[in-house]
Symmetry: C2
Subunit: 313 residues, 2 copies
DNA sequence: TTGTAGGCGTTATCAC
DNA sequence: GTGATAACGCCTACAA
């Protein structure tokens, strides 16, 4: 019967019956029931992607990448937004374990500990769990080096409030580089991924008695907050403060001045994360993890500290 | 047996057995299988939301709103991105009809014609289909009026290439208002929701022999492209060109100058769309449609045309 | 108050 | 090459 539809008719059913079946199915508007199939086969050909915050522009890129890769292999990806709520995160995981998905892409602060499910962690590297992440150490090194090469010594860090591993890495690496160069290592404020809150935190940094001459931001949204704070205070970027972001979100180049930032490829991240998960689900030997590149995109928000005022003044 | 777990034990099972059952379930790590339940009950308590482009920042807001509302009633929402591809749109619909969802939220150009499924259209108003959309007529009226009040007569339209109903509305209303005021009604270029393409199209507008003194953009992303084009040409906003956007995306206020735009509430849209769908699924009488407000947010990207040069020159 | 059985729509196996 | 049948796990009606 439905051998035909599942494409396993080769050499099993006569061409005539096959045609008849197809026609009948067509006319009756028959469509195989997904629930029954899932029950029988134990697979849904769907993977769940759980993210902390759909509202952040970076996720769209990642989801798009994962979705494209999934599509090619006949999988669908269901997105679950956890709205920065750990309880909800756990609840989602439990709900999804109940059957609706064959595997998980966890783009959150802390993926649930290993449970025998197929899961790949994104941007986190939990011990023993397959992961895909960017080389943020390299990324922050590129950013900080660039600033130090320009002559900056007092570099503020506009950091994410989120305790994610990727952010801890940024902080640690930055500190390392700064102390290695003999500079002050901890001028830091944290903010949510929200322009107003970021502006508030950036303001705290800019209002310090010893104002930092440059700001390294965990993310382009945060950098946007720094732009806001600088504008409120009549500070020019980059003449009075240099700013460097992270992510290279599409709007970074429309900021004024265009934002110098660390580019990472969200689409690629999603694509690779799905590929790794697919390997896992297929029982193939998957790599323990993948680390993706990051590079510096030079635009116009950085300059040497304290540019001399125009000669005329 | 599983009467307990489904919460229907009231007056059917003794408290003792109930406790025993719960404990056993706990220890065995038993969790009801979603596929089997779906097969049996015919419902999945999941709705599908299909969007044209996850990559656009507006969708995050809508999804968040829908997801929050769904969560409250024990529903999940699965997001499907269609990547602006009509074939994929149809394919997704077919795939989703196979069972995995109880209802649909269609945020696309053209939701598939009525098929007996529970579906609510978002930002489109197909005949006979339940919908939720913004009052874009009012929104564009607010924008155009504002520009005309400022004294603009030659207003360019930086429009979306997408043929969505919401965009056709903007165009039609704008034209109406312009011809009613006796102005030239069609200075228009279209672009994809992408800063570079938008900059290209905006450039076409700005390079016209009779340069428009103001630009009305279908969307804040497009407005960002206008900023880029103006910058390339050394044109000042708003002194040389006024710009007004649509959506009030979070980054609009960090643009320089902060963007005057039409604010619409994506979260509310998602929330209401889900509520309407829930009513539909429950068989309750649902309203034929809902129209949500839009308002003008005055910032600094608009001014009277051709501001006189500073007296000193 | 508790136990049992049937069926939801598939797929896969096995006998014809 | 084809048709029958069992089983996936849950829910619910009905019998004990």
């Amino acid at each position: 019967m439905s051998l035909v539809l599942s494409g396993k008719s080769a050499g099993r059913v006569s061409a005539r019956t096959e045609g008849a079946v197809r026609r009948a199915a067509q006319e009756l508007g028959y469509r195989p029931n997904a629930a029954a199939r899932a029950l029988r086969t134990g697979a849904t050909r769907t993977v769940g992607m759980v993210v902390t915050d759909v509202t952040h522009p970076f996720f769209g890129l990642v989801l798009r990448g994962a979705q494209l890769a999934a599509w090619r292999t006949g999988y669908a990806v269901a997105l679950v937004d956890v709205a920065n709520d750990p309880d909800r995160e756990l609840a989602s995981f439990e709900a999804l374990r109940a059957g609706p998905v064959d595997g998980f892409l966890f783009f959150t602060l802390e993926p649930p500990a290993h449970t025998g499910e197929h899961v790949v962690a994104i941007e986190v590297e939990p011990p023993g769990m397959t992961f895909v992440r960017f080389d943020v150490d390299r990324g922050t090194e590129l950013a900080i080096r660039h600033l130090m090469d320009l002559g900056h010594e007092r570099i503020g860090h506009l950091a994410s409030v989120l305790e994610g591993e990727t952010f801890q890495r940024r902080r640690a690496r930055m500190r390392e580089l700064l102390v290695a160069a003999g500079h002050d290592g901890e001028i830091c404020e944290t903010a949510a991924f929200d322009y107003d809150d970021a502006a508030r935190a950036a303001g705290l940094l800019l209002d310090r008695p010893q104002r930092p001459t440059a700001l390294f931001c965990d993310d382009d949204v945060l950098a946007g907050g720094a732009y806001l704070a600088a504008r409120e205070r009549g500070l020019r970027i980059p003449a009075d403060v240099s700013v460097v972001g992270f992510d290279d979100l599409p709007f970074a180049k429309v900021f004024d001045p265009p934002l110098t930032t660390i580019a990472i490829d969200g689409g690629q991240l999603g694509e690779i994360a799905f590929a790794v998960l697919a390997a896992l689900m297929a029982g193939e030997p998957a790599p323990p993890g993948r680390i993706l590149g990051a590079e510096l995109v030079l635009r116009e928000s950085t300059a040497p500290p304290y540019l001399p005022a125009p000669a005329a003044l």
